[in-house]
Symmetry: C2
Subunit: 249 residues, 2 copies
DNA sequence: CTTGCATTCAAGAAATCTGTTGAATACTAT
DNA sequence: ATAGTATTCAACAGATTTCTTGAATGCAAG
């Protein structure tokens, strides 16, 4: 950018810091990194791998995010963990998503179509989920990797990472519908999970929100406990009761 | 950006549209244009002039905003009027501002310092304004140009554009404190107005919000009526009553 | 101190973005 | 039609961004 055209109206530089933050959000890779970080803190290496980026490249993207104040770092021994600097970041991302959904109908249609192939049905919202859980109508599964589940998950959810879905799907009760959720509205894990479950004859639905959105709504999140890998779990009954108890307050 | 490094994790392109919207916000000039548009619709020419941009340059920035779905256009005869496409845009800008304020303390300090020279006192919030207006303690002035005032202003505000402040300041009551507002938290008009009024011996304060923020809070806005240019107006009394009435609902 | 590991820095090529200029388009008024 | 106005388009130079590669840094373990 050259010297601003003619008479620079005063108070233009004021916007520079804000523009910098917006710019930091302005790259698909960085949005992907932020979505991952919204699940919990991670090392550079883990982020690079899960985002499918080269190491140095991921590092540079992360530093850009840090310069913009969107993420913060913590050193632990040899490695450096990145995390969202503030839960307002999730709010900003949600605002961005809402607006892009409304206004970019052209692109949004394409995205939707691309996903609708996997999931023809509307996702259900958090309110409806709680109602159905209360009635014991659904089994709630978290299809993210176990580590992310450990860092926070919906109360009463079973952790069934997509990778293990093939092996463990048969353990799900067939009577109840299965509701799957993952990292967020634009994470494809749950789309994929729902598609696979349907192919196996399950009644499967997607939860609209991911964990970050759920948390941002002020709804309760259960931490820790990567869940016993025990394939045989009282499926749904106890879990549903826990979810309801947590939501009743 | 080349082909994404190695194995493109699925669902990366999904973020592209969102990144595009964020990018559109990622330039100081475009943020300035959006701030102007938040006051009301405008022609390209008016926008270019007020933002201090070349005509073609402004046009291109505006088209970028339109491609991102942030603004929309309307043709009227010879000219084209741009407007915000959705009030969610103001919400997004506010979210951006909040986050940048919190996290970019380094830059924020500089900005603040730059402004604190003009305004040493904290701005007052909308709640406090309503209270003081109710008690008839303050005169509320809108220091934006008359056209913007006409497109929407706080109930009971007097329009005293910065350009006319010199001539008309003497007409303000000296007993009451003067509260000035303008386009938003990072518009310098009100800073400047407050500084000038103080130099003249007034007790002057800045309102934290501008009209867009006020509106976004769901507070009432009076439209039309560029206000009689009559220098002699029952200053504050009737205005205050109107503001209070409007806010009471 | 040396080694190994995680991360960052540095440099360079390719792509993208910006602002300017001058021409082209779309509409109004004469 | 013709002239005039408002806006957009096209093209270009300069700046910035992005990703890759390879080296440098900081820390922990031996």
């Amino acid at each position: 950018m050259k010297a601003v055209s003619s008479s620079a109206p005063p108070g233009r530089e004021i916007f520079a810091p804000f523009a910098m933050v917006a710019r930091a959000l302005g790259h698909p890779c960085r949005l992907g990194l932020l979505q991952l970080l919204a699940q919990g803190e991670r090392s550079v290496e883990a982020l690079a791998e899960q985002a499918g980026l080269g190491l140095a490249n991921a590092s540079q993207h992360l530093q850009q995010l840090r310069r913009a104040g969107l993420v913060a770092t913590r050193r632990q021994g040899n490695r450096i963990f990145y995390r969202l600097s503030d839960r307002a970041v999730v709010a900003l991302l949600s605002a961005l998503r809402r607006l892009a959904e409304r206004n970019l109908s052209e692109v949004a249609r394409l995205v939707e179509r691309h996903f609708k192939v996997l999931d023809q049905a509307e996702p259900i919202g958090p309110v409806e989920l709680v109602q159905r859980m209360k009635k014991g109508l659904v089994t709630l599964i978290d299809v993210r990797p176990a580590e992310e589940f450990a860092q926070g998950h919906l109360p009463g959810a079973l952790n069934l990472p997509l990778a293990e879905l093939g092996r463990r799907a048969r353990l799900l009760p067939r009577r109840r519908a299965v509701v799957a959720y993952c990292r967020g509205p634009y994470c494809m894990l749950s789309y994929e999970a729902v598609a696979r479950l349907r192919r196996r004859g399950f009644t499967a639905l997607r939860l609209e929100d991911g964990v970050p959105e759920w948390r941002a709504r002020g709804l309760p999140v259960e931490r820790g406990a990567p869940q016993a890998l025990a394939p045989q779990r009282r499926k749904g009954g106890a879990a549903a009761r826990r979810l309801c108890a947590a939501n009743r307050r």
